[in-house]
């Protein structure tokens, strides 16, 4: 249970309501306090609202149960005749107004602080697309995609589900502790929503808009969340994983990413120089296909009706290589088939096309080399 919060904050999960001694139960039935100052304040506002409702509820429901018991016909055969009282009605209009004003004051001041996006130390541009997140560190130029890492076998109940089922990503967003981090959210296709409950940050990612949110995380650890806005068939499979590291470790990670980017560039040059064999490409291609393509086209290449067409025997997958390359690299406008050129390496694109042209009964025998993809870019 506490695993969802990275197992780090169980000490903070004080079971505030119902006096439940079992920490995991409190985390199961109540909003979590999270790890940031803001998430704790928001939980307090939630508790304020909850307690007002509980107390008013107890009063109203007690009155109802009392009258049902005490004024039933067997006990009270002659009904009273009153049907109006301006004073009482005035009182029970006024008291709720006062309670509401009392609730609005802390909510307003918290909201003003939430919307204060000024003076950030670090900005991350989050671009959502079906069904992945793209993170760009605007200050250091690093960027990468983050996909679900839960294997399809677990979703299909063929393997036991692990602890972070559906909440595991291949490349977590890495953030430093104790810095004011500004998130900018936008989307490439439909509306998504970036939500990490432990930071109490939920911001819609809307195509054509850039929204702002911020957080400041005092505790290192791994935090998990999910896309919160229905965005198509992969909506449940768009986890958010954030790894928070202390300042120096974060700086070191940034440096590592720079080096890794250089190495990837060198690897790409080497991949282009090499002539790859069919089985090498098919092996890599299958991995890429399962990870990125199978959500819609299915592992057996049979697709899902006309909306997500079958690749087995499809005109493109067994037709001209140039068309196939074009479709994979540039996508199809206004559909979930997105442009993969910016997301995948030359080798990955070459491999997945080779795989598609030589699987599920497609037997073109075509081998596409990374250099072909490079030249097509």
């Amino acid at each position: 249970m506490t695993s969802y919060a990275g197992g780090l904050k169980s000490g903070l999960m004080i079971p505030i309501f119902w006096g439940v001694p079992n920490i995991s139960l409190a985390a199961k039935v109540d909003m979590r306090p999270g790890v940031t100052d803001m998430s704790v304040r928001i939980q307090q506002i939630h508790h304020m609202g909850l307690w007002v409702c509980i107390i008013v509820g107890i009063i109203v429901f007690s009155a109802m149960f009392y009258t049902m018991f005490a004024h039933r016909r067997s006990k009270n055969p002659t009904p009273a005749t009153f049907s109006d009282s301006t004073l009482i009605e005035f009182i029970w209009t006024l008291i709720p107004v006062l309670i509401l004003v009392g609730m609005a004051i802390p909510a307003t001041s918290t909201l003003r602080d939430i919307e204060d996006n000024e003076d950030s130390d670090l900005t991350v541009l989050i671009t959502a697309s079906q069904w992945k997140w793209h993170y760009q560190y605007l200050d250091s130029g690093i960027s990468y995609y983050s996909n679900i890492a839960t294997p399809q076998e677990q979703i299909d109940n063929l393997e036991p589900k692990d602890e972070h089922y559906l909440l595991d990503a291949d490349n977590p967003l890495v953030l430093p502790t104790d810095k004011k981090i500004r998130f900018l959210t936008t989307a490439d296709d439909v509306i998504h929503s970036w939500w990490v409950p432990d930071f109490a940050v939920k911001q819609d990612a809307i195509p054509g808009f850039i929204n702002e949110a911020w957080t400041r995380i005092p505790v290192p650890g791994i935090y998990r969340g999910q896309c919160a806005e229905l965005c198509g068939i992969g909506h449940a499979y768009m986890p958010i994983v954030v790894e928070v590291r202390p300042g120096e470790e974060f700086d070191a990670w940034i440096e590592d990413q720079r080096i890794a980017a250089e190495l990837a560039g060198e690897a790409a040059v080497a991949a282009r120089a090499k002539t790859w064999a069919m089985d090498e490409l098919v092996t890599i291609g299958q991995e890429v296909f399962f990870k990125h393509c199978a959500t819609c086209h299915e592992r057996d290449g049979m697709g899902q009706g006309t909306k997500y067409p079958a690749l087995a025997g499809s005109a493109i997958a067994v037709g001209a290589i140039a068309d196939h390359l074009n479709r994979v690299m540039n996508g199809k406008a206004d559909t979930e088939m997105q442009a993969w050129a910016p997301q995948l390496s030359d080798l990955e694109i070459a491999a997945v096309i080779t795989y598609e042209r030589n699987s599920w009964g497609n037997d073109t025998g075509d081998i596409i080399q990374p250099i072909t993809v490079y030249e097509a870019r």
Partner: protein, 531 residues
């Protein structure tokens, strides 16, 4: 005219005559029954979809329903429940009851009444046929946010658009008819402030419908032109604005949720006084509270959109306005309690459903107040907490309200008393099942489970299993309801004219069952003080 129609009918084949009778009827009672039966049928259709969803959600992993199909039944469940089950049920009740309550012979516009009903079967055939089309049914949720529903919508989206247009036309005509009837056909002496509350709440609801259904028609038309005629209302790439869609949709959508609850308020306000044997407490404040809720509903649509990046000032305004709704809503609940207070209470099935309505609707109102607090809404938004909230308002609100009404007025409609023992079993099992289904959703939502997902991570497993068991039980209890209704129509203890000892109002002065034509001569309303 009537005699003529009947001679024509006798010459026809009995089956044809039966079809012609129901197809061409302009009688408010018959049209009311048609509405009620259609809504009952669609209630089962949409309920079955919910049970499929709960089947898939019984355990983590994908077992029965793949994500594409899940999104389709998720969408149709919402659309059919809102436009097919709740709204036609209320219009059916209005048809049956409003003329009898205000002493009118029929609805003011009987042919239009026929037309507004008979559009609906076609509208829902269009909508539900999309399930069998290539590319599947609409899969973007009942809120159909652009661009998921425009650029990325399946081809059947156009059937959905046409279906919504038809439902809208039907609702607008129904609402016009109700307003014209109430304004013009009240019996002499039936002043506005003497009208039963059910009539009042429907009058206000009808105005809401006329205000917002054209807005819904506008937004689906904009979708249609975006999809096929090259416009870019909601497409960022063409200079349009996806958030504009949400503003227009929720300008319709928020009053719409009150359209689905105000007649329920009216029903509770009829039933509670009867079984308390005491007049409704604070009749005037009930009317004013209903009107203020309706007015406020036009300025709070933004509370569905707090996470879309609204400016601070707009968030504050919408939060305050939304919290304000708690005041008139509270007044209504307090008034119902005060009506029961020191009454002489009995607990027949309609009263049980009405009390269940008040209590569980109040729980939904509480979570609504919590959702209004913007900072907390950032955590609640689009989670199961919201699903719990609106199901608490709609199931014990709109659905229990309708069931209370059916038990209460069914003896008047068909002349027989329902089986009280079965009615009580129905109430208690349905109440247990509603809470078993929807209460745990508060917990899964607060723990962080997003809504509209076919699969979820492991920590949500146990409460989802409870919800699923509750949902199947809830589905079963409604089969019992169907049985009770059919049994009552077919026979049973003869109902008296007044039916309920404490019942007051013109409909109870009529014979049971109410004859086909009533109040052909307006009744005499006692002069004197208004309520």
């Amino acid at each position: 005219m009537v005699a003529h129609a009947e001679t024509v009918q006798t010459q026809r084949h009995p089956l044809l005559a039966f079809a012609a009778r129901w197809l061409f009827t302009t009688n408010h009672k018959e049209i009311g029954s048609l509405y009620l039966w259609l809504s009952f049928l669609l209630f089962f259709v949409a309920g079955l979809m919910a049970m499929f969803m709960r089947l898939e959600l019984f355990e983590p992993g994908i077992q029965f329903v793949d994500p594409l199909y899940y999104n389709q039944i998720l969408t149709l469940h919402g659309l059919v429940m809102v436009f097919g089950a709740v709204m036609p049920a209320f219009v059916g009740l209005a048809n049956w009851l409003i003329p009898m309550m205000i002493g009118a012979p029929d609805m003011a516009l009987p042919r239009m009444n026929n037309f507004s009903f008979w559009i609906l079967p076609f509208a829902f055939t269009l909508l539900l046929s999309s399930l069998f089309m290539e590319g599947g049914a609409p899969n973007f949720g009942w809120t159909f946010y652009a661009p998921l529903s425009t650029t990325y919508g399946p081809p059947s989206t156009d059937f959905f658009i046409l279906g919504v247009h038809l439902m809208g036309i039907s609702s607008i005509m129904g609402a016009i008819n109700i307003i014209v009837t109430i304004v013009n056909l009240r019996a002499p002496g039936m002043t506005y402030m003497k009208m039963p509350l059910f009539v009042w709440t429907w009058l206000i609801t009808a105005f809401l419908l006329i205000m917002v259904m054209p807005v819904l028609a506008g937004v689906v038309t904009m979708m249609l032109t975006d999809r096929h005629f090259g416009t870019s209302f909601f497409q960022a790439a063409g200079g349009g604005d996806p958030v504009l869609f949400q503003h227009i949709f929720w300008f319709f959508g928020h009053p719409e949720v009150y359209i689905m609850i105000l007649p329920g308020f009216g029903i509770a306000s009829q039933i509670i006084p009867t079984f308390s044997r005491k007049k409704l407490f604070g009749y005037h404040s009930m009317v004013y509270a209903t009107a203020s809720i309706a007015l406020l509903s036009f300025v709070v649509w933004g509370h569905h959109m707090f996470t879309t990046g609204m400016p601070l000032i707009a968030e504050l305004f919408v939060m305050y306005a939304t919290m304000l709704i708690a005041v008139p809503t509270g007044v209504k609940v307090f008034n119902w309690v005060a009506t029961m207070w020191r009454g002489s209470l009995t607990f027949e099935t309609p009263m049980l459903f009405a009390i269940g309505f008040v209590m569980m609707f109040t729980i939904g109102g509480f979570s609504g107040l919590m959702l209004a607090l913007v900072p907390a809404d950032f955590q609640y938004h689009d989670t199961y907490f919201v699903v719990a909230h609106f199901h608490y308002v709609l199931y014990p609100g709109a659905i229990f309200g309708t069931m209370a009404a059916v038990y209460y007025w069914l003896p008047k409609w068909c002349g027989h008393m329902y089986d009280e023992r079965l009615g009580k079993i129905h109430f208690w099992t349905a109440t247990a099942a509603v809470n078993l289904t929807f209460f745990p959703m508060h917990f899964t939502g607060l723990a962080g489970m997003p809504r509209r997902i076919p699969d979820y991570s492991l920590q949500f497993a146990d409460f989802n299993m409870v919800s699923s068991i509750g949902a199947w039980l809830l589905g079963l209890t409604q089969v019992l309801f169907l049985y009770i209704v059919i049994k009552t129509i077919r026979g049973g203890v003869k109902a008296t004219d007044q039916v309920w000892e404490g019942a007051e109002g013109l409909e109870w002065t009529l014979p049971s069952p109410a004859p086909r034509h009533t109040f052909e001569t307006p009744p005499v309303i006692a002069q004197g003080n208004e309520q």
